[in-house]
């Protein structure tokens, strides 16, 4: 017995409301973030991730209030991502009650930002989020490219090289999302996850594509992930977190029940 694999429901938040669609398209309102966070906590969620997808920076203050509200009622680790671009942004979220921040676009724009943030706040609260997309489906060895801006902007950076570099800079955890799978419900890109989990020595959260409970176990058993993230299967009441954990336990995976 030892460290449990984690299940992490993800809440995409737009102007203070939880929404979920295939990223940035077909957004459906899924409710009040505090209420949803409490429900997941009661179901045994191991952590929560909030991604602020609010387009306008004016509305970003809303996210701070959401985090404050959730942090005063839900006593499990909270990670906040979306629009984290400076030490001031990190400080604001940590002060509001977040335990970790996820950095994506700003890391690509300036990798030194990750190093500075890890030195200032500690690696334990710096998660680097990597949006990965397959670039050569048909020929040659499998490769993935880093995308930013919610998966819209290619960077030309190789995902594996980037993952290793970010850990060297001090990232304490990687949140890896397959842009090919996100929203499809076809399951994680297991080859992507396995490549990354074998390449780095920090915990990896697998994300993108979960459509059923078997996918979660596959992320751990075949992808090598330390934690699995999902959104839509939980938001609309298809499955509870507890059901997901019992299913993982039935596959011999150690979970917190």
């Amino acid at each position: 017995m030892g460290l449990a694999k984690r299940i992490i429901p993800c809440l995409d938040v737009d102007r203070g409301r939880v929404v979920k669609g295939v990223r940035f398209v077909d957004i459906r309102d899924a409710g009040d973030p505090v209420e949803i966070a409490r429900r997941y906590d009661e179901q045994g969620a191991d952590e929560l991730v909030f991604l602020d997808i609010t387009a306008s920076s004016d509305d970003r203050a809303t996210m701070v209030h959401v985090v404050e509200e959730v942090a005063s009622q839900v006593f499990i680790p909270l990670t906040v991502g979306g629009g984290i671009r400076s030490n001031a942004d990190i400080r604001r979220m940590l002060n509001a009650g977040a335990d970790k921040v996820a950095i994506n676009t700003a890391a690509v724009a300036n990798p030194e930002f990750v190093r500075e943030a890890a030195e200032r706040f500690g690696s334990q609260c710096i998660v680097v989020a990597i949006d990965a997309k397959r670039v050569n489906e048909d020929a040659g060895p499998l490769r993935w490219e880093v995308f930013t801006h919610g998966g819209r902007k290619p960077t030309g950076i190789d995902v594996l090289e980037w993952a290793v570099r970010m850990v060297t800079c001090g990232a304490g955890e990687l949140l890896v999302t397959s842009m090919d799978r996100d929203g499809t419900r076809d399951g994680f890109d297991l080859e992507l996850m396995r490549s990354i989990t074998q390449a780095v020595n920090v915990p990896v959260i697998a994300s993108g594509g979960v459509g059923n409970l078997e996918h979660l176990s596959a992320g751990v058993l075949q992808g090598g992930a330390d934690a699995v993230l999902a959104a839509s299967i939980f938001h609309f009441g298809e499955y509870t977190v507890e059901q997901a954990k019992r299913n993982m336990a039935a596959h011999g995976i150690e979970v917190r029940l």
Binding site: M1, G2, L3, A4, K5, R6, D41, D46, E68, A71, S72, F75, I76, P77, L94, N95, A96, G97, D99, F121, G122, S123, Q124, C125, G172, E173, N201, V202, P203, D226, A227, R256
Partner: protein
């Protein structure tokens, strides 16, 4: 009135600690403070801590709180959390070696990189992050209503390896067995984060609020 002071030296997730204490405090008052008089006046004291230990020690010393913590350690219930536990020990290997408060005996060390779990054959990552089991090694009022081997949330790269010392209140296994809780007289300290450990974490804080050491 029963008051608990949460020591604010700029190095902790004070929001979470104070909210969790407030949740279980009932009529008690939770004060987040760096003022020595208020800390010394409180009925019980929580010493949180996050980040690099050298910075933690430097801030405690700069604010004159090292002496305050020593005084508290000799007089009233004190709960150290995470790095707040580590600073109570003699020494930490972090930051090329950092002398700590020396209130409890022990030497804090880094988890070795690339260790493999003996049972699963899995490569163990550093930091040790997530929910692990806490095996209680002694009966203690702070374990009341908390099951043997209950899971708590950890996030740390340094630990106090288990040396079967009398102060060991619980151990946890991650490549090595380390002390996940230590206790002596009116002092209790945990490597995990009760404020992030859902129901069992709140139970531990509730037990601390009732503890008459």
């Amino acid at each position: 009135m029963n008051t608990v002071a949460v020591i604010d030296y700029g190095m902790g997730n004070l929001h979470s600690v104070s909210k969790a204490l407030a949740r279980v405090a009932g009529d008690s008052r939770v004060e987040v403070t760096y003022e020595p008089e208020r800390i010394l006046r409180a009925d019980r004291v929580v010493l949180p801590g996050v980040g690099a230990i050298r910075d933690c020690m430097a801030e405690l010393t700069r604010l004159g709180l090292d002496e305050v913590v020593r005084e508290v350690a000799g007089s009233k219930p004190l709960l150290g959390v995470c790095v707040g536990m580590q600073v109570l020990m003699d020494f930490s290997e972090e930051n090329d070696g950092t002398p700590c408060l020396g209130i409890l005996p022990g030497r804090v060390q880094r988890f070795a990189d690339g260790q493999v779990d003996a049972q699963s054959g899995e490569r163990l990552k550093v930091p040790h992050m997530g929910w692990n089991q806490v095996h209680q090694r002694q009966k203690h009022p702070l374990w009341e209503d908390i099951a043997q081997d209950a899971r708590f949330y950890f996030v740390h790269s340094y630990c106090l390896p288990d040396q079967k010392l009398e102060i060991t209140a619980a151990t946890t296994s991650y490549g090595v067995d380390f002390a996940s809780a230590v206790a002596r007289d009116n002092i209790f300290a945990v490597q995990f984060h009760p404020e992030k450990s859902a129901r069992d974490g709140l139970q531990l804080y509730a037990n601390f609020m009732r503890w008459n050491a």
